[in-house]
Symmetry: C2
Subunit: 385 residues, 2 copies
């Protein structure tokens, strides 16, 4: 099995890109990544996207984007795993290079969520849940997360104010990320006052609906350095699934697929959680950030929220998370999010994270969650400088 490295990264700002089509967003991220890698062509293109069929009436993005990039002829296809589509596409790209069937691979995550009404977007996102047993009852993703958050507060005795620092941290980090959607500080008081959406999920517990694209170029590690002087090694890549409906999980607060995928990744990389310098986690909702810290071995059950209260998750904390703003403040263009996490982690490991640069960042983890935890994909990246 060949080892795989990232030799280029690119992204668009996350925003409401009403004046830009999906293929233009993908093009912008792809061209940035090609320029970063200093190459002009790839063997294969894997596109992560969740909603383009439902929202913009366009499937077949693999061929469409290859065509628009002027690369018709190359292998291309789309990968979908709900909000984990971006990381799933990276997984396939990694398989392609590892197998030897492709040498240079581009992975693009792209999503355009604002070309329709908010209600339609909410309905389209709900397709990640179980249509016949969850959505038919009228539950949206906000509602599912509200049920989980309420249950967590009940089981472990927390008030909702305890979750504030996840949001404060994300917004503080996004201030220095020019590609983030939000550049506004959030205080614990603002978090507490935020409009309630589905109690106890308030407006500031949830990540925004938005548009964006991010891309990476992969190459075999053995000659990655001939292409880019500071490549980033993919130390591990692991996908795990869980019951798609929350009510089918023996312990809905356990995020079993997070535990499985991160522990597979730890084993493949030969590391333990405390070896990690930072963690790009999937804070689509504050409750997901909390459960993720617990499932991946950073906190005991019921104590994930304590890490935020203790300041462990800030840039100078024990385990910095969402170093460029996370889903909450960089934004969550769903099928692109997994690639934004990878791009940001790679920038940290290359020393290119600007004002948010972590000193001596050598080993970082990303984790991308599909649905309410039914597909969870973990990548561990390592500096090669």
């Amino acid at each position: 099995m060949r080892k795989v490295a990232i030799i280029g990264v690119g992204q668009t700002p996350v925003s409401e890109h009403w004046d830009t089509s999906l293929r233009h967003l993908a093009l912008e991220a792809a061209l940035n990544a090609l320029q970063d890698a200093n190459i002009g062509r790839v063997d294969s293109i894997y596109v992560g996207n969740m909603l383009s069929g439902e929202i913009t009436g366009q499937s077949h993005l693999g061929a469409q984007i290859a065509d628009f990039l002027g690369m018709s002829g190359v292998e291309a296809m789309k990968i979908e795993a709900a909000c984990a589509s971006g990381s799933a596409a990276l997984r396939v790209g990694t398989l392609a290079v590892a197998s030897g069937m492709s040498d240079i691979v581009m992975v693009i995550g792209v999503e355009k969520m604002t070309d329709t009404s908010g209600q339609e977007t909410t309905a389209a996102l709900a397709m990640a849940a179980d249509g016949e047993y969850e959505v038919s009852q009228g539950v949206s993703f906000v509602a599912l997360n509200a049920l989980l958050m309420r249950r967590y507060m009940h089981e472990y005795g927390w008030e909702r104010e305890a979750f504030a620092n996840f949001v404060v941290n994300a917004h503080a980090n996004a201030m220095n990320n020019p590609n983030a959607m939000f550049h506004s500080k959030v205080t614990p008081e603002a978090y507490a006052r935020a409009t309630m959406i589905a109690t106890p999920v308030g407006l500031l517990d949830a990540s925004p609906v938005c548009d964006g694209a991010a891309a990476v170029i992969l190459a075999p590690e053995e000659y990655a350095k001939t292409l880019n002087p500071v490549p980033v090694r993919i130390r591990a890549s692991a996908v795990a699934t869980d019951a798609i409906a929350v009510h089918d999980r023996p312990d809905p607060l356990a995020l079993e697929a997070a535990r499985l995928s991160s522990h597979r990744a730890y084993e493949a990389a030969g590391i333990k959680p405390s070896d990690l310098d930072f963690f790009e986690l999937h804070d689509a909702f504050t409750i997901m950030a909390t459960l993720s810290l617990e499932a991946n071995g950073f906190a005991e059950r019921g104590k994930g929220v304590q890490m935020a209260l203790d300041g462990d998750i800030t840039l100078d904390g024990k385990l910095p998370v969402c170093t460029m703003g996370g889903l909450k403040a960089r934004g969550h263009p769903v099928g692109a999010t997994g690639l934004y996490q990878i791009v940001e982690a790679a920038l940290q490991l290359r020393g290119l994270a600007g004002k948010n640069q972590l000193p001596n960042a050598r080993l970082g983890m990303t984790q991308n969650i599909g649905g309410s935890g039914a597909t969870i994909i973990t990548h561990i990246l390592e500096s090669m400088s």
Copy 2:
């Protein structure tokens, strides 16, 4: 790179399965494949599907189907490349085994097209074309194929009656396939009389809207025979793309992505077209069957239709095609079709094709087309008995 073999196949009948949900169809094909391979669990599941989001409001099929199979925890995701989604999923499964990251892989193609009106299905299928430059003009896939067929007749001087034998052959072969949608003979006279849909495409030029699922189990070739005494080797797997919009192709009758993908596959397998014992081609429309024979090196430009007229494509012809009925008569549940082709080719190579068994079939090719030729995926399979 590890070589990859097919150790089990399964399928459901192709039909209008109004009483069966998408996940039940997938389950039935998957259980048949697991039983054929005599195993109970796999490492990863790759699902090929095009339309479930748009037609049944369900995305996230990877996790959903893994869950429904009782295999939660395994790696799973969905792959989409329009009507080539099934073969694209097989491509990813092949990468997973070839890379060494998975040992036993299940690939499932599944589609449920009849849970909505015919008009809505036609609109959903059009998402495989270029939404902004083709579909916005009102062109459906039938219309695009009618334009291509008309152009072909104009360029090469054929009458539409010359295409009849593609349909006659497909329906004759489907008579002996219990999983085929149609069990009715078609005569050249019936073909000529068929209702016109979009001149010159008549009802019998087009494959039907239908439901179905097909699945295969993959394993490393080195120990495939310990699991199944008659495995089938994947000699080559190749994906190529072309401009998504027909009007962007310098020569719309050339099927450039078919030429590219088959020639990459010939090269990888070290064979020439005449070495093949049969060819499961993508006869979504008779014009696609014709263009495919030409692009893949079996006929000169303008002469593909002659092969049908000369009887070359029947079970006892020079190059049997659609040996179990093809898309026209077995049916074309779009995201499942690529896997039906693979299942049928594997059955031929294992000597299990019943009354349609080709004598001494050692080497077969499948080709699956997405859109009007923007993604074309070729697999070459070989008997290991």
